[in-house]
């Protein structure tokens, strides 16, 4: 096969999944192209400070320092094997073409095979006071620390419904920030019930326990089963108020709050690529359908990592490598069957752990049951829960895209990335139907805002 006939394999995302896919393809002699929005590789979990900020400190990543450095090294040291394009937003997929926003302006890229490793983002839920300055998502709080080396506040309270909560609390406390509360909106009982399943990934489970223990040594207990969250403040965060698991009102003074409730898949590009979506009950979200090997329903389009279903960084690495092998299989290349079997075996074990983790952190729907009509759901457009409920009640909106058309919910700068799932949850409650049946917001390009400039034809 001549060099000209080499298939073009494009990968979107330079987190654990994208990097491992690129590495495996490069080992097989292909030269994949990796597009990533960030300046440096690592994705969200192994995000690096800007180059100007100097060398990466392994302290940032804790237990994961070795993994982080390995991921960073693949693209840093592999320039001749991998065509790495940082600071590039892939904002559309249509047919076999990607639309790019590069540092040099708009470009396009044809591909033969496409691996989408687009990752996940915080799932944000509204609660009274959530739009006050000083309220961040947990992931946002973590990025502030990891990428900018700053804290979101001096007295910080964290709220979550997933394993990110004890980790971020630990990272902040370790950095010397006064963490005044760590509140879990799910119950402790849900975690106890899943202990055996969590041992499927004993080392990860042990790390979780270690963070929790370290937090406790610093006098910071994660308090489980909190309800009725509210941030108080006049123009900015002054206190966090909640009801504890025994129903008692609690209050802590703070100047910043990090709050998010699990993760949501970033699947817009999969949508634009035409992938079929399935409902993931544990996430209460529609996700692109992915085979165990990494194939989507569109030939030539593959999915790896949290962009298809939440599995965490280790699963993302496995899926990235496995998906690369699927690409090679589809190209008619020989692949190492033992490596395939090994990846599938580890992946199966990780999946058991993930199921237990999902069950340990069930969706805290009680926060949405309590949302008042006046609460803003869509921050971009200022659309309230009441407006959404009215569209359901008076205008027959029983599907999220219709609710969007009638109310403007999800029609702003974020295009529903932050409010889409909340809108679906509230609509389902208003219509007294399954979350599944209200559907999902259809993605329309661009996946993120792009600048208006006059481009050469």
């Amino acid at each position: 096969m001549s060099a000209l006939a080499e298939p073009i394999v494009a990968i979107v995302g330079a987190g654990p999944a994208g990097v491992r896919a690129a590495d495996a393809l490069a080992r097989a002699g292909l030269r994949p192209i990796v597009f990533d929005e960030a300046e440096r590789p690592g994705g969200q979990i192994y995000r690096q400070p800007p180059a100007a900020a100097g060398r990466v400190s392994s302290g940032i990543y804790g237990f994961e320092a070795k993994k982080a450095q390995a991921i960073h090294g693949v693209l840093r040291d592999g320039q001749d094997r991998i065509d790495y394009r940082p600071r590039t937003l892939v904002w559309n997929v249509f047919g076999r073409r990607l639309d790019l926003l590069t540092p040099d302006g708009y470009r396009e890229q044809r591909f033969d095979h496409l691996i989408l490793a687009t990752g996940a983002m915080d799932r944000v839920l509204p609660f009274p006071g959530w739009t006050l300055p000083g309220v961040f998502s947990l992931g946002g709080a973590q990025i502030a620390l990891k990428a900018q080396g700053v804290s979101i506040g001096r007295r910080v309270a964290f709220v979550g419904a997933g394993p990110l909560l004890p980790l971020v609390a630990h990272q902040y406390a370790k950095a010397g920030v006064n963490v005044v509360a760590a509140l879990d909106a799910t119950t402790f009982g849900a975690k106890l019930a899943q202990v055996s399943g969590l041992f499927a990934s004993a080392d990860t489970f042990a790390k979780g326990l270690w963070y929790t223990a370290r937090n406790r040594l610093r006098g910071l207990d994660v308090r489980y089963g909190v309800r009725s969250l509210r941030v108080e403040g006049n123009g900015r965060v002054e206190a966090l108020v909640w009801r504890d698991s025994s129903g008692l009102a609690q209050r802590v003074a703070c100047d910043a709050v990090g709050a998010s409730f699990g993760l949501r898949v970033e699947a817009q590009l999969a949508d634009l690529a035409g992938c079929r979506f399935v409902f993931a009950p544990e996430l209460r979200q529609w996700v692109p359908e992915r085979t165990a090997e990494g194939r989507s329903t569109v030939p030539g389009v593959y999915l790896a990592g949290d962009g298809a279903r939440i599995g965490g960084a280790d699963v993302a690495e496995l899926q990235g490598a496995r998906t690369a092998l699927a690409v090679l299989e589809d190209l008619g290349r020989n692949v190492d069957r033992r490596e395939v079997a090994r990846l599938d075996r580890v992946h199966a074990r990780q999946t058991r752990f993930r199921h237990a983790l999902d069950a340990a952190y069930p969706f805290p729907g009680h926060l949405l049951d309590a949302i008042g009509d006046e609460e803003i759901v869509c921050r971009c457009e200022g659309i309230t829960a009441g407006a959404l409920r009215q569209a359901a009640r008076d205008k027959g909106a029983r599907e999220v895209n219709r609710a969007k058309a009638l109310t403007r919910i999800g029609m702003g700068r974020c295009q529903g990335r932050l409010c889409g799932e909340t809108a679906a949850e509230l609509l389902a409650r208003a219509c007294a139907c399954d979350i599944e049946s209200v559907g999902r917001l259809r993605c329309q390009p661009p996946v993120k805002p792009i600048p208006i400039v006059a481009t050469a034809p």
């Binding site: 027959g396 700068r413 208006i452």
Partner: protein, 384 residues
Amino acid sequence: MTERLSVDVTIVGGGIAGCAAAAALRSAGMSVALLEKNLCGAGASGVNFGGVRQQGRHLAELPLARRARPLWDELNERLGEDVEFQATGHLKLARSDAEMAELERYANVAAEHGLRLQLLGSSALRSELPWLGAGVVGASLCAEDGQANPRLVGPAYARLARRLGADIREHAPVTAATRSGDGFETRTDRLEVKSRFLVNCAGVAAGFIAAGFGEDVPLRPLVPNMIVTEPLPFFVSRSIGVCGGGVYLRQIARGNAILGGGDGWGDAESNRSRPLTGVSLAAIASALAIVPALAGCHVIRTWSGLDGEMPDVIPVIGFSATTPNLVHAFGFSGHGFQLGPIVGEIIAELVTEGRSASPLEPFAIDRFARPAQAAQPPQAGVGQ
């Protein structure tokens, strides 16, 4: 299990025209079933630019556009909700002396149809809109034209029709529409509707329905290519088009600038459409030439949809040439939004009186004699 209905009128297609017809027919005391393949107002009625425009129309359409215009003033009252209609005026820009001369010619002819257009030279134009790009030499203003929110109008008409007693079925794509005895039998996968009249306003799918009655029309898909920016401080006080029609632009009260131009990609069979990047970037470049102040803001969404276009870019409106009591209204060729409310009234006139107060001869379905293609087998089904 098939549900059976029997009504006076079956309407295929829940766009603005279909829903407005359903409401008007109910007001006239007729029983109505409306079958919509998706959601009412989700097709061309909902994805268009939102221009409520008379200026620049084909002269044959002007009488209809003139009749439609007062309906927009009363639309909020009629529909019981705000569809964001604003008579902002519509400016058609000239970018050369030749274009200005063309605007003058049109203004003179339009005046004979009762449409008053105001011609503005460069200095008059710039004193009102100082932010216009350097290439603009003049414009024609139709002060009574305006804009409205297309996402709201269709669904609001559907709710009005429902309140008036129309039986509106959504997610009900028609699989067959045939002559049956004195009337019609229209089927979906769950429904069989018998009716005395059949109204075909199925948008891009209308050609399939017409073909089933031996009327082969040269309807092709038209795919708008639309772009919207993030909200900006309000300054584009008029709805804007250009001579030749390459780009159009308006800014809504919320602050978003909406612009369009060119054609996206669409497939009528699968009912799918997408904006095309090259077309979007070209429309952006054209928009920046006339409104340079948009530079640097962000596009937050692009979209498209499917309309039907006729070769002479005016619609088919009127009775079938082959089949009694069959009424067609489709092929609005990318500018049916403003006409929607009056087309609903006209359909009701045809059904209830057998004639319309508006001159419909130019819109006759048999104006395209195409004997060469008559032998082609009819295409099966609609709205897949």
